[in-house]
């Protein structure tokens, strides 16, 4: 069964450093998402992406964050200058369709980011 994959599974970085989290969505899916879960808190939406542009972003997704689909398979989340509060589990998801559609989002296993 096709699945969403994410790398790395764990990342430790120093505050102020840039990190790139990588995701490979399911191959025929067109909509891509990033969510995060700070320890002990809800899973929160960050951004959705379709047709090479951001469809929607949350208040969390400020100028320090960016997303990109650099090729036909990868979908990345970049944090330019990490802060302590960026420490969280980051989930990538994809769906065949998205906005306004009855489509299921399939999640990857997550990347646990720790900012020191």
């Amino acid at each position: 069964e096709p699945e969403v994959t994410q790398t790395p599974s764990h990342q430790v970085t120093q505050m102020g450093q840039e990190v790139i989290l990588r995701c490979v969505p399911i191959s025929n899916h067109l909509y891509f998402y990033w969510y995060r879960q700070i320890l002990g808190q809800k899973v929160e939406f960050l951004v959705s992406f379709y047709n090479n542009e951001i469809s929607e972003k949350s208040e969390i997704f400020d100028d320090q964050f960016s997303v990109e689909r650099p090729d036909g398979s990868n979908f990345t989340l970049k944090i330019r200058s990490t802060k302590l509060e960026d420490s969280a589990m980051y989930f990538c998801a994809s769906s065949e369709k998205g906005k306004g559609s009855r489509e299921t989002q399939y999640f990857g296993p997550g990347t646990r980011l720790l900012v020191l």
Binding site: F91, A93, T104
Partner: protein, 113 residues
């Protein structure tokens, strides 16, 4: 604003006992509702979903959920819990305008032998 509430942060049940995890939502239109499960070290796996039609939906691993519009609820049930069901369970509603999922706080399920 849309929201999802899971009133129980942690539930412990004995293996073989029945289970019900509660979920309440706040949404103006017809909601699209989901239950996901997260085992330790794993991602979020879809258990079941409700879009329309029959209000009792069947999912994987023997789970089912019932949509009750009058109570704004979408509770997850299983008649007989197995030790492997120990995990965290998330209820979510999709924003039909934007497609993002809005999650509840999650309920951690422990299973006693």
């Amino acid at each position: 604003a849309q929201s999802v509430t899971q009133p129980d942060i942690h539930i412990t049940v004995s293996e073989g006992a029945s289970l019900e995890l509660r979920c309440n939502y706040s949404y103006g239109a017809t909601p699209y509702l989901f239950w996901y499960v997260q085992s330790p070290g794993q991602g979020l796996q879809l258990l079941l979903k409700y879009f329309s039609g029959d209000t009792l939906v069947q999912g994987i691993k023997g789970f089912e959920a019932e949509f009750k519009r009058s109570q704004s609820s979408f509770n997850l049930r299983k008649p007989s819990v197995h030790w492997s069901d120990a995990a965290e369970y998330f209820c979510a509603v999709v924003n039909n305008q934007g497609g993002k999922l809005i999650f509840g706080q999650g309920t951690e399920l422990s299973v006693k032998p």
